[in-house]
């Protein structure tokens, strides 16, 4: 019996979940109630390792056990690419209200949830989000964004959080590019943008349009430089991940890129209303 901390009533849940996670992540799990990193004060019920992540599973009587918050904080502080999953019995002994609160809390932390029925049926309720990658929805401040692109940011966040952070970052980049291209079109129509490529032409390079906006002094130069750097960066090549270290570096970069994209989008209303000669440009997403 590999468990000493886990109550026997939960052993079958642990064993069924272990088998499923081995299949799902194509890993072999042999470590039970052992530390996975010496500097993290936590031994999960069991854990395995893929090329890019530790897969940690905590088996408990509920989806958000009392210790999980501090475990999460410890892992986050140590910057380790970890996907944390909680498995719990489907026939749960807490009220429906507490269960819902637990599920919401777990999702707010990007913790994967698995429930197991007494007949052995397992249900995956949500997949875990790697801890270094995770951005809580509350930290996005969705309601503070301009209504024209709020729903687009919501879509990008969903893509980012549901296993495709690269595309989430790219979606933010596309919003920025569309809004700035339209700014150039407005400026050209108004006669503020006299030199440079025609932004109406679909093939016009975005970097060149930004150069031309800077040359014509349309809006804040520092903002335009940040937007160009962001556009160039998001199109960079991605590298194959074959170690936890590389995975961590890449996930930290995706997270930073997503946060940078959000910051650029949050600046747009203010920057656009302080254009050339105090002109206010409209925010249009093409």
């Amino acid at each position: 019996m590999p468990y000493s901390f886990l109550h026997p009533d939960l052993h079958s849940i642990a064993n069924i979940t272990k088998t499923r996670l081995e299949q799902k992540y194509n890993i072999r799990i042999t470590d039970f109630e052992k530390g996975f990193e010496s500097n993290v004060e936590y031994s999960p019920t069991f854990f395995g390792k893929t090329n890019s992540h530790y897969i940690l599973c905590e088996v408990s009587t509920r989806p958000f056990p009392i210790q999980i918050k501090s475990i999460y904080a410890d892992i986050q502080n140590q910057n380790i690419p970890v996907k944390l999953i909680v498995a719990y019995p489907d026939e749960i002994q807490i009220s429906a209200r507490d269960l819902q609160t637990d599920i919401t809390n777990a999702k707010n932390f990007g913790i994967g949830l698995i429930s197991v029925k007494s007949n052995g049926t397992l249900t995956i309720h949500s997949d875990p989000i790697s801890i270094p990658l995770f951005l809580p929805q509350a930290s996005i401040g969705l309601n503070t964004f301009h209504s024209k692109f709020k729903h687009l940011i919501e879509d990008a966040y969903s893509v980012y959080s549901n296993g495709n952070p690269k595309h989430g970052v790219q979606e933010l980049g596309q919003i920025i590019e569309q809004v700035i291209r339209n700014l150039a079109i407005q400026a050209r129509r108004l006669g503020h943008y006299t030199n440079g490529v025609d932004p109406n032409l679909p093939g016009s390079p975005f970097a060149t349009i930004i150069d031309n906006l800077i040359a014509n002094g349309i809006i804040n130069v520092a903002f335009l430089n940040r937007a160009r750097a962001y556009a160039e960066d998001r199109n960079g090549a991605s590298h194959r991940i074959n170690s936890l270290k590389k995975s961590l570096i890449q996930e930290q970069k995706y997270k930073l890129d997503f946060q940078t994209g959000l910051r650029i989008l949050s600046e747009i209303p203010n920057i656009f209303s302080n254009g050339k000669n105090n002109f206010k440009y409209k925010i249009v997403v093409i």
Partner: protein
Amino acid sequence: MSYKADLKNIPIELIDRNPENPRIFFRQEEMEQLYVSIKNKGLLQPIAVYKDKDRYVILDGERRYKTFLKLNYPTIPAIIQDKPSVLDNLLLMFNIHSTREQWDIFTIAMKIERVLLLLKDNNGKEPTEIELSEETGMTRGVIRRCKMIIALPERFKEMLRIDLEKPKKEQVFSEDFFLEMENSLRAVGNNFPETISNIDKVRDVLIKKYLSKIINNVTDFRKLTKIATAPNKLEIPRSKIEQSLNSIFADNSISIENVYRETVESLYGDRVITNNANNFLVKLELLSKQDLYDNDLRDALIRIKNQIENLIKD
């Protein structure tokens, strides 16, 4: 017993569980609370261990030790005591754990059996119930229950042991089942020994009836005791009770509950009313006329008088 003790930080991988401390599982929520408490506030009380060659064995603090493992801590503060004798170790486990951690009665019984043997070896005679109670900290009632479990045939003890290792919801038997069954069979043996001449076979039948829900509840065995002791208390022929007991102990679908209802339930009911009526009469004889100034009492007595008159008239 006297101990020399040192406090040290011991590498956790050098610590072993105490073989005399049965594997007790604590509620998951309690363990998780302890995890949070130790993580936030640290260890308020060191564990106690004794040194055994190059390793250490836990005397007190298994929960804290398990939590330290869960916390992935490399060392744990521990008070190191002298290595106790086998008997002292066993008695220490009793006094430290049995009341605090609520060992189940089967676990206590298995340990008591060993304590009995070791004390007998040490003192040259079997300890009395009082001596055993003083040594172990158990009440005499618990010791009697343990002795009943110890006296069970090995195969039943094994059956119970296997069942108790299962998760609670999968357990079929409990110590209470065997204790209630044995108590009732003792009463049957005292009054109708011929009905349980093959007592193991009778046990098998009763277990089978319990598994197939013919016996619904472990407390049904108390009714079996009442059936077996009925001829001492009620006017009922022994032959009728003997026949009833034989029907309960036969491999059929006859339940204790049914036999009780059909043979002695109403007689016991009458006996209860007769006893209560006699007690009531004694109280009545003690009443004076002045007591009847109390209207409530007077009304109640009039209601009883009317009811009795109605019953007698019918």
